[in-house]
Amino acid sequence: MRKDPVDVLIIGAGASGAALAWSLSETRMSILCLEQGDWPQIEKYPNTLRDWERHRYGGFSSDPNIRKWPEDYPINNSDSPITPVNYNGVGGGTVLYMAHFPRLHPSDFRTRTLDGVGDDWPIDYRTLEPFFAINDRIMGVSGLSGNPAYPHYDTAYPPVPIGTIGRTLAKGFNKLGWHWWPSDSAILTRDQGGRKACVNAGPCDLGCASGSKGSVDITYWPRALNRGVRLKTRCRVSEITVGKNGMADGVLYFDEEGKRQRQEASIVVVACNGIGTPRLLLNSGSNQFPDGLANRSGLVGKNLMFHPLTIVTGLFDYPMEGYKGPRACSITSHEFYETDKDRDFARGYMLTAGRGVGPLMAAVGGLSDDRPIPWGAVHRDAMDSEYGHTTALVVVSEDLPREHNRVILDPTLTDSNGIPAPKVIYRQGENNKRMHRHGLARAREAIEAAGALRTFTDDTIIRQAGWHLLGTARMGTDPEKSVVNSWGRSHDVKNLFIIDGSVFVTAGAVNPTSTIQAIALYIGDRIKRNLTKLFD
């Protein structure tokens, strides 16, 4: 049993854990991060292999239940139409993410006051603004300043080329008089500090072999390690332990040889994402915390939010060359983001252009390989008439918090160390269903206005799109109705912080990582400012 107490112990080396490690590294505190996975091996990313596309459905899937690496934990998804996806290693989800990098809107922090749904956050957009800016600089964010969907901010690098797809859809949006803008992307469009500009290869979800995508293994971590932070890989935390005084005093973990170890710490920070964090807290029950650590509110694991997605595809009579360019980053429309009282739902959605896909993904039916296009004599026509000539609009919808949607510990399923696995229980809400009906109709309208010959609508929510894992340890001022306070500190355990997507109060309708990291930096700032009265 190793002890060597540290000042700060961070669990999880993903998007938020890395940002906080860097933020705190300017203090004199000793900081250690324990991560269950390894450093990514860039030379093993499949997009340098001839058969790169097929790895998306096997050993390099973003679904841990398919990938089944030793560092992965299984997720029981049998009671959810959406399956959570992730990457368990240094970098966390950012190793596989598509780097679409919008921020939440100001209204996302005030949905109760403005629209009578969800809850207000204890912080607001203006509070996070300086941290968005720091994060954009370190992650390397490209985009075009002046997007009228946000208060003004500057972007450092020119936008990723919007390409034929972007120009085509932009004309459709313009015909309808709707908002659109080039995407903010955590992707370099110019070489910077040893990182290369994007080569427009497309499959960012298989890891970026050229280092252009801002994943935290190449952005925050080298900076944090340079400043003395220690990071231990292949260490899976099974439990956060609590002393007699009710404060967290360290963790128990399994090291790379599967041996149980103990690490003591003065401050424990959980950054395991919206599924991994409630799993760990629920597994850290004790006499003092019989329902799981930091769970006196009963809300740990509850209010799980995804961004349910549907897709409309348009067929055009000219080539879209959609395989060129980062797949999720071209243009995006926030025309229907804000609540409109004339609609039959509250809040809204984003429409995002999806570039095309490679030939295999087109043939097997998309993100999961269970809807292949027709075989036989018609196969050639099906492939030749559509491949390369389509573009899609993805309806990314706001999911309202509902206690029914939750993460619990599975009674029987475990990971390779015998730690109980999470089970996800989720239903799509009525508001969200209505929103999707509206979104699909609008997406079709936009694609038709852009000149599509035909549109195809996929009106079921996409199962493999559980990318955004939010809300399962929400922040708030009232300890009865939230798990952490406005700066991530547990209401129940004053030296326990939660900093990942779990703390979201509402989900917004944009990809969350920019906001997750801004929150982690904000929490880091608050910790630094309050060092002398941190546990008051």
């Binding site: 997009n47 340098t48 001839r50 790169w52 596309e53 097929r54 459905y57 809107h105 100001p106 209204s107 005030r110 006051t113 403005l114 075009l144 002046g146 009228p148 969907a149 946000y150 208060p151 020119p158 080329p161 919007i162 390409g163 972007g166 120009r167 932009a170 313009n174 908002h179 803008w181 080039p182 469009t189 994007c198 080569v199 427009n200 290869a201 497309g202 072999a209 050229s210 080539p319 060359e321 395989y323 060129k324 360019g325 926030h334 983001y337 804000e338 490679g358 030939p359 295999l360 043939a363 097997v364 269970d370 292949p372 075989w375 036989g376 004599a377 196969h379 050639r380 030749d384 390369g388």
Partner: protein
């Protein structure tokens, strides 16, 4: 028969499988695109039999079923039947064993659409996307600004709060 196939199925089964693959993905574009069996996708499947639990049984069951439906149809072996009739036979097998057939179709596409001889016809070229990537010219700033003009003119789209 390729090496990988060698221990997965006998010669007769190999011929049958290859003909089935040709039926699933026939040749196209005036012969520029080979059919899946002719391209040797069976070798790829043999490798999957080794690393994918249950896939070998799926293939055996499918081939057995294919022999049965072909025998019910007449005495001409499957690989000697005319294309449309082959497809009819394969459809019968699909109806009997839908899940196994779908797995075969998906794996056939996987073997086929990752071959450089094929991908070269689908824009992505014969090489993997990294390290070279693809030529995607930067947007013409004037065109972009002019496209965005009306969005700018319309003004703020967020709620101040």
């Amino acid at each position: 028969m390729g090496n990988a196939q060698a221990n997965s199925w006998n010669e007769e089964e190999g011929v049958l499988l290859s003909a089935l693959l040709d039926t699933i993905v026939p040749s196209g574009r005036g012969g520029a695109l080979p059919a899946a069996g002719a391209l040797g996708v069976a070798d790829f499947l043999a490798a999957r039999v080794k690393d994918t639990a249950g896939f070998g049984d799926h293939i055996s069951n499918l081939l057995e079923s294919l022999s049965e439906v072909t025998a019910e149809h007449g005495s001409v072996p499957f690989h000697k039947l005319e294309g449309a009739v082959r497809e009819e036979m394969a459809k019968k097998v699909e109806a009997r064993l839908p899940e196994a057939f779908k797995r075969l179709v998906v794996q056939t596409y996987s073997g086929y659409y990752t071959r450089p001889e094929v991908t070269v016809h689908f824009g992505t070229g014969p090489n993997p996307p990294h390290p070279s990537g693809y030529e995607l010219p930067p947007d013409d700033p004037e065109e972009l600004m002019s496209l965005l003009e009306q969005v700018r003119v319309r003004g703020k789209r967020y709620r101040e709060c």
